[in-house]
């Protein structure tokens, strides 16, 4: 939260209290209900008469506007109250008459819309309800109308920058509310054509009351129009996994887009609470459960490890074991792994032998080289051939006594599973995992202490969760945090997560299946779980979607573990696409801190979008085929440098 927002939030309570009595009375009169009360806060609404104005809505609107603050406050509060006061229910009888064959005993609005319109109808329906109830209320108050008109005008030009479907929804809103003449001709042809056709449907609607059945019928027609003009995809042409991805991506973009051009409301699509007005009826049953989940989440965040940066800043990191269900993807994962090695021409087993000697030389034999007489190392030919040894004999009397600890950190952010337009599958995370697998295999074979973890910044998953329970908990915590913590919700919701695939103390064999399962997911994404296993067995793959990362938190965290490890040579390998959301100077300081304390930090950059300049030792892999060669070279360089530093002789 920036300081401007903090200041605004500080003043909002006072400003809100100035307008609260008048607005409350206005609503009481308008709704013919003297029991309506209006309050500012993050706690939940106690009853339908208790309207709670979420501070984050006010802060967001007020911090973005250049209009008169008091007026915007009035507009936003009344706007929020309008959309908080009306809850609707389905008239099953009239719906069954309209759609006699499709709706048999379906009573939930979500299901009704899904059946009649697919996954996207809910957005059209939500906008229709939102627009009409706003129109009904606002038309009675010219002042309010002009305030809202000014607020909408401020962001109106942004509509042009939105995706087609978001443009359609925004312009549908303006066509109904009439604050602004949308002038359709300024927009893309498919959007204009869809809107022109939709206007005929709008003319038939009732603007005196919200008629739910009528709006569902209109939604069905409008979604059909959107499909015909290709502003909504025809999901039948995609696999189940792709359908899910399309839905989630559209959901994210619609929520993001509409929150930019419409005034956000806690009760509709602009804050991701699509159909909230209907869900509100059953909400009380599950609210307690949701509150418990939120409390558990907050406790977990509170109890998580604090990372202290060299700059004095601190951050929290949540530690967890990687969800166990990834092992259920092992079988397919193994095939994918083998095929990737072939496809990318990675002779991993052969090449492993090229780097082993450098470890063995220092660790197992505990001798140093560079003498004209003494013992002969079995790896001397390689050392001599690579130019690392100038003299072939080693001496016993000067033992290096080396022992290693290696931490492998894999970037698990959303960008690592994105694919380029010309690619069928993503490769960044898959290649990072194969790179980690390569180093892990060496460590495993040479009995070097190592750990493997994957990190990201998103809603944290738990070890025993499946996809369904993860998503259920995620949405519950998200909605409760938004209500209870307003603008601070996002900070509590998305945490820096450190998922251990294998800790130093763990057995690699026991965790190998989860690791290979991750490779399967990293390559095939949602198709990887479309394999006929039960819902209980599906790993929570959503934990990686939309995630970001902050490299320096994880580097400091891993450095701390390495420094506590009794080994005398420590190495931290970060496999990342270099697209950190953190601070580059903090990243630089963290790497310097690790280096000064004897940890060799190696940055292995995947792809060509990020930056690895902050890593003293770095290598960039632009194609997966370069993976092993690059890892071998940089690791070898570090090992040799290390040998030089400790023995003085190579």
């Amino acid at each position: 939260m920036n300081s401007k927002k903090k200041n605004i939030e500080g003043q909002i309570v006072e400003d809100f209290e100035k307008i609260r009595p008048a607005i409350t009375r206005l609503l009481q009169t308008q709704m013919k209900n003297d029991d309506i009360s209006l309050r500012y806060g993050r706690s939940k609404s106690n009853s339908k008469n208790d309207i709670v104005i979420n501070p984050s809505i006010l802060v967001n609107t007020i911090s973005k506007t250049n209009l008169d603050r008091d007026e915007v406050m009035i507009g936003t509060v009344v706007h929020e109250a309008i959309h908080a006061t009306n809850n609707y229910s389905l008239d099953s009888e009239s719906l069954n008459k309209l759609f006699p064959e499709e709706l048999d005993d379906v009573e939930d609005i979500d299901d009704v819309l899904e059946i009649l319109t697919g996954p996207f109808g809910k957005y059209v329906f939500d906008i229709l309800i939102h627009s009409i109830e706003e129109k009904i209320f606002v038309k009675q108050y010219e002042g309010l109308n002009s305030i809202l008109e000014d607020i909408y005008t401020e962001s109106f030009s942004e509509i042009k920058k939105l995706g087609n479907f978001s443009q359609y929804l925004s312009l549908l809103f303006h066509s109904i509310t009439s604050y602004i003449d949308p002038e359709f001709e300024n927009y893309k042809k498919p959007v204009v054509s869809s809107l022109n056709e939709s206007l005929h449907i709008l003319k038939t609607l009732n603007y005196e009351n919200v008629n739910v059945s009528e709006l569902i019928e209109a939604t069905v027609q409008m979604v059909d129009i959107c499909r015909r003009y290709n502003i909504l995809p025809d999901l039948d042409n995609y696999t189940l996994g792709e359908q899910k991805e399309i839905e989630e991506s559209l959901d994210e973009s619609v929520v993001n887009d509409l929150s930019k051009v419409l005034i956000p409301s806690s009760n509709n699509v602009t804050t991701g609470n699509t159909l909230q007005k209907f869900l509100g009826q059953t909400e009380t049953k599950s609210t307690d459960e949701k509150l418990n989940l939120m409390d558990d989440h907050i406790s977990k965040v509170g109890a998580s490890t604090t990372i202290y940066f060299p700059s004095g800043n601190t951050a929290k990191v949540v530690e967890n074991k990687i969800p166990n269900n990834y092992k259920n993807l092992y079988k397919n994962g193994l095939e994918t792994y083998e095929s990737l090695l072939q496809q990318w021409n990675l002779p991993i087993y052969k090449v492993t032998n090229k780097i082993k000697p450098y470890f063995i030389h220092n660790q197992k034999r505990q001798r140093i080289s560079g003498f004209d007489q003494g013992d002969l190392s079995p790896h001397v030919p390689i050392m001599l051939a690579s130019g690392r040894y100038e003299r072939m004999f080693e001496q016993k009397q000067r033992l290096s006594n080396k022992s290693y600890a290696i931490s492998l950190l894999i970037d698990g952010s959303g960008s690592m599973i994105e694919k380029n337009k010309d690619e069928l599958h993503p490769w960044s995370l898959a290649s990072a995992l194969i790179g980690a697998s390569y180093l892990s295999q060496i460590c495993f074979e040479l009995d070097i202490d190592f750990e493997v973890s994957i990190f990201n910044r998103a809603f944290a998953s738990e070890h025993t969760e499946n996809e369904e329970t993860y998503n259920k908990r995620k949405f519950a915590v998200s909605s409760m945090l938004n209500r209870s913590y307003g603008s601070s919700a996002q900070e509590l919701y998305s945490t820096a997560n450190h998922y251990f695939i294998k800790e130093f103390k763990d057995s690699w064999r026991e965790n190998y299946q989860q690791f290979i399962g991750l490779i399967e997911f990293s390559r095939n994404l949602r198709d990887s779980i479309d394999i006929g296993i039960s819902n209980d067995s599906i790993p929570p793959v959503s934990m990686f979607e939309k995630g970001t990362n902050i490299d320096e938190i994880n580097i400091m965290h891993a450095t701390k573990r390495l420094l506590n490890h009794p080994s005398n040579t420590k190495m931290l390998v970060v496999l990342s696409d270099g697209m950190t959301r953190g601070s580059l100077s903090e990243l630089q300081n963290s790497i310097n801190f690790a280096t000064k304390n004897g940890v060799d930090v190696i940055g292995i950059g995947i792809g060509n979008r990020g930056s690895w300049r902050e890593y003293i030792n770095n290598v960039q892999i632009e194609k997966p085929e370069q993976l092993i060669h690059s890892i071998v070279n940089i690791t070898k360089d570090i090992l040799i440098k290390n040998i030089k530093l400790t023995s003085g002789v190579a």
């Binding site: 307008i19 009595p21 009375r25 009169t29 003297d34 002009s146």
Partner: protein, 329 residues
């Protein structure tokens, strides 16, 4: 002697006819009483009260031959027009009208009268009885409006008890007993009593309250205000009229709320709505926003400081920018 017809505004077929007052020129105080007959306000809009008052007057005098002592008190907030109703009732029936406020400073001697000393012109003095305001009214045909009934002190109430009950007599301190004439009618007005009500008011003494039939006189609603504007300012454009009425309705809704967390202390009186604001509009006729200037200079200065935020919020919600056309009054 002429008569006046009072029509039920809700059903024009129903009406009550009542004879006008005809003052006898021979009565001693003819001039003074004649001067007390109010002018008919051509802009007055009967929202139904005149018809109701006429019904009661008709019933008590014709059906019950004035045997049952019944007096009507109108209860409403400041600015609802309750005194104006009684005054116009008197005007229509051509009755001398006496409005006697019973505020806290009024003592029984002020109402009833007292013996006062006068110079005799020979260097001495003589004592003479001087009628009080109420006594003077009751000596002839009159409509008496005892306003602010619930502000009256105990001695005033005591003095009025026997006048308002079956005795129908006013006992004066000089021993004279004045009977309530059949052509004299007593009405009252009062403010509602609640926690935040008017200074000096109290709940009516039960014995005193029992002598009255109390009718509510609320703030006029939207349709009633519309009718008032239509009659008084028929040229005023709809754009102005609707906004003024909406402001008045919402402000007064806030004023009458029982919820102390949302109510305000300053209502928008009929005087503000149909007098102050039209004058303001005329004064600021050439301003870019006449309604806004009127609001700021003719309305807000009368508003309690604590209520200003409330008024401003309602202004912004309901009007924000007034009509840019020149108001026609």
């Amino acid at each position: 002697m002429g008569s006046q017809k009072f029509i039920n505004p809700d059903n024009e077929k129903q009406s009550v006819e009542i004879e006008e007052c005809k003052l006898d020129k021979k009565i001693e105080d003819f001039d003074s009483r004649n001067n007390r007959i109010p002018e008919v306000d051509e802009y007055y809009v009967d929202l139904g009260m005149q018809y109701r008052l006429a019904q009661v007057m008709n019933s008590t005098s014709k059906s019950f031959k004035n045997e049952i002592p019944i007096h009507i008190a109108l209860m409403g907030h400041m600015g609802t027009g309750k005194d104006h109703d009684i005054e116009q009732f008197a005007a229509k029936l051509k009755f001398p009208y006496y409005r006697i406020p019973l505020s806290g400073e009024v003592r029984d001697v002020t109402l009833l009268g007292s013996v006062q000393l006068y110079g005799d012109g020979k260097g001495g003095t003589e004592s003479r009885w001087q009628d009080g305001e109420l006594t003077r009214a009751l000596r002839g045909p009159a409509i008496v409006n005892l306003s602010e009934l619930n502000a009256a002190g105990p001695e005033v109430l005591f003095a009025l008890h026997s006048l308002l009950d079956r005795h129908r007599k006013l006992e004066l301190p000089n021993g004279e007993v004045l009977s309530l004439r059949e052509d004299t009618y007593i009405f009252g007005t009062m403010n509602p009593t609640s926690l935040r009500d008017y200074a000096g008011t109290q709940s009516l003494n039960k014995a005193f309250a029992d002598r009255w039939v109390i009718w509510d006189k609320p703030f006029p609603n939207k349709e009633q205000l519309d009718a008032i504007f239509e009659k008084r300012y028929p040229k005023l454009q709809k754009e102005y009229r609707e906004l003024i009425i909406k402001l008045a309705t919402e402000v007064n809704n806030s004023f009458i709320s029982d919820d102390i967390s949302v109510n305000i202390e300053t209502p928008m009186s009929l005087r503000t709505i149909v007098e102050r604001i039209p004058i303001g509009l005329d004064v600021y006729v050439n301003s870019p926003d006449p309604l806004k200037d009127t609001w700021e200079n003719f309305v807000l200065p009368h508003v309690n400081k604590e209520d200003l935020d409330h008024y401003k919020t309602l202004w912004n919600t309901i009007v924000r920018k007034g009509p840019s056309i020149k108001p026609k009054l």
